[in-house]
């Protein structure tokens, strides 16, 4: 309703863009907020950046009130659709389109565009690396460590578990192992793997972990137990890349956030200029497997800028 009126005119008011993320306490979230604000300002936008500290009780009202004060575009960084239902309602009511980066694993009508990474692709890459390293998945015992509260990790750990079973492998412990709190992810994964190895000596072939921090705990447990299972993670943090280079971790996955962000910024510019929204509201982008071979060339996700 309101959005289009000012969208074409670059003369009077600068277009207003609300950029918010709940994950500003993570390196990627922090990078994204800064990057978007900087790029947007360069493009002549009036960017209001809202940081949520994982506290939706605080963030959602802030975003909604910004929406209430008028805006042209809402840009969601890394916040799962489930947690921002009230923001989606508010922006729909105000007729403001919401663009998003990695904010849900499925198409959702709440978004004009959400670009995320290809979760199945990530699983294919990591399980492929595991399979190559241990000679196929059939008959192998693989532990999958996930964290259900995180939508992306939840989806990919589910896919990985399914694929392992489909390929004839066994899930260590009979199910996906859950880390309860991301803050203690590394310690929890360490204990999970160490205790499993103790309880089932010589059984574990590989550990597939949904994110690098916990993967590093698994790596440590395996090296301390003197076991020979391989570990993969996801995110390409500098620590994980170093572990891959050192050979203690088999692989991780780089997700191309800078280029994804550029794509979305373009789509927003396009919308602000012409009022046209992207044809598809959901896009999945391919990722890069990081192994010892290419590790040196990857920019770590916590050092994007």
């Amino acid at each position: 309703l309101t959005g289009c009126s000012s969208s074409g005119g670059d003369s009077d008011a600068a277009p207003k863009v609300i950029a918010f993320t709940s994950g500003n306490q993570t390196p990627i979230g922090g990078w994204w907020l800064n990057n978007t604000e900087a790029q947007g300002t360069e493009l002549g936008w009036d960017v209001s950046a809202i940081a949520g500290d994982f506290d939706f009780q605080k963030m959602n009202p802030a975003v909604e009130s910004a929406i209430g004060q008028g805006a042209d575009v809402v840009y969601n960084g890394f916040t799962d659709i489930a947690s921002i239902a009230s923001i989606v309602t508010a922006s729909q009511d105000a007729g403001i389109p919401m663009f998003a980066i990695d904010a849900g694993t499925e198409p959702n009508d709440g978004y004009a565009l959400n670009i995320t990474t290809d979760q199945q692709g990530i699983v294919d890459q990591t399980l492929g690396a595991i399979s190559d390293a241990i000679g196929g998945l059939d008959g192998k015992t693989i532990m999958v460590i996930g964290h259900d509260p995180h939508a992306g990790i939840r989806m990919r750990s589910g896919l990985a578990a399914d694929d392992i079973v489909a390929a004839g492998g066994t899930l260590a412990g009979g199910a996906i192992q859950q880390v309860v709190s991301p803050a203690t992810g590394r310690t929890e994964a360490l204990a999970l793997v160490a205790d499993f190895i103790t309880a089932n000596p010589g059984v574990l072939d590989a550990v597939w972990v949904g994110w690098d921090d916990a993967a590093l705990g698994a790596v440590q447990a395996i090296s301390e137990a003197g076991a020979d299972a391989v570990v993969t993670g996801c995110d390409a943090t500098s620590e994980a890349i170093a572990a891959v280079e050192a050979g203690t971790m088999l692989a991780t996955v780089e997700q191309p956030w800078p280029s994804i962000n550029d794509t979305i910024m373009d789509a927003i510019s396009e919308y602000l200029a012409t009022g046209t929204l992207p044809d598809s509201n959901f896009e999945m982008v391919a990722t890069t497997l990081v192994t010892q071979a290419n590790a040196a060339d990857i920019t770590p996700s916590d050092q994007l800028g």
């Binding site: 009780q57 959602n60 009130s65 004060q69 489930a82 947690s83 239902a85 009230s86």
Partner: protein
């Protein structure tokens, strides 16, 4: 012995009535109120165009409404001289329960009632542990918190539940005269709690028990029942807060509103400083809630880095409580 002896009192009486006058008695301008006024003034001077506008005040109220409810629950327990560290977990479980029930097809009112019953039962269990089995409230509610979060994870299966019926979300997101519903609800619940604490026999008993368990018992107060009911009410009110939070966010997760526990305790503590007796009290708690709300909103408006915000929040809570304690220090 003649009654003239009583005349020695008057010389001091007049001086003291100053403090003890009806209004002044339970509202001494403690450091907490000073801190609130100072914060409001500071943010107003920094951003006179924004801070005290209708929209921003509405924002602050909206942002603290659920904390206010949970801090109200915490106040009840702290009046009795205990703690409830499980209020945050209970509210999360209540929200998750309502959410899961609705997604499972239960009608909205039934789902809400179910959630409130869950909260009530957790409170009851806390009460039994503390009042009848004599566990320390600290350890009992800490362990309860752990278990309740675990149950909430099971209820949500570790995910964030969403896609609730619009009518449910309306409870948390709807507006009346421009003001969001949770604000009204927080006010209504606070007033009810204030009334219960101040004017009911149960409220009186809570205050007495908080003053001295032994004296209360020897004065005929059923101490165990009083403590049990305080915890039960706290569980119930926390559950209201949790249901409202789920409606407000349109989603529910096991760790939702995690910091409400910590902030509720902080708010009650801030509020305790305004009474000379140092007892928990609802008016004080709401001042504490306001400080927390103003601080977070104001720092956001000034665009202060999130980490620095966190450092400042702790520092300002300490400063406010210290200011009040200086007054009482000389002994």
């Amino acid at each position: 012995m003649t009654t003239t002896d009583n005349n020695k009192a008057p010389t001091t009486t007049s001086i003291v009535v100053g403090h003890a006058s009806n209004a002044g008695r339970w509202m001494m301008q403690g450091g907490t109120i000073v801190a609130l006024v100072a914060l409001v003034l500071f943010f107003f001077l920094m951003r006179p165009d924004v801070f005290l506008t209708f929209v921003n005040i509405k924002n602050i109220l909206y942002q603290v409404s659920i904390l206010a409810i949970i801090a109200g629950a915490q106040t009840v327990v702290m009046v009795v001289g205990d703690f409830d560290l499980s209020v945050g977990a209970t509210s999360a479980l209540a929200g998750a329960t309502a959410g899961a029930a609705m997604l499972g097809g239960m009608p909205i009112p039934a789902a809400i009632v179910l959630a409130l019953v869950v909260g009530l039962l957790i409170g009851l269990l806390n009460g039994v542990l503390v009042a009848y089995l004599n566990l320390s409230a600290f350890i009992a509610t800490l362990a309860m918190m752990t278990s309740v979060i675990g149950v909430a994870f099971l209820v949500t299966q570790g995910t964030t539940l969403f896609n609730f019926p619009a009518e449910f979300n309306e409870l948390g997101q709807g507006k009346l005269f421009e003001i969001p519903l949770p604000v009204y609800l927080a006010i209504v619940i606070s007033v009810i709690l204030w009334f219960v604490l101040r004017y009911t026999t149960l409220g009186r008993q809570w205050h007495a028990v908080g003053g001295s368990v032994e004296v209360s018992r020897l004065s005929g107060v059923n101490v165990r029942r009083a403590r049990l009911l305080a915890f039960t009410l706290a569980g119930f009110v926390s559950a209201i807060g949790g249901v409202l939070l789920a409606a407000r966010l349109g989603s529910a997760s096991a760790v939702q509103g995690e910091d409400n526990m910590m902030f509720s305790v902080a708010a009650v503590f801030l509020g305790m400083t305004i009474l000379r007796s140092g007892a928990a009290n609802l008016v004080g708690t709401m001042i504490g809630v306001a400080i927390i709300g103003v601080l977070s909103n104001g720092l956001n408006i000034l665009g202060v880095n999130a980490y620095i915000q966190q450092v400042l929040t702790g520092a300002i809570i300490i400063a406010a409580v210290t200011l009040s304690s200086l007054k009482h220090r000389e002994r």
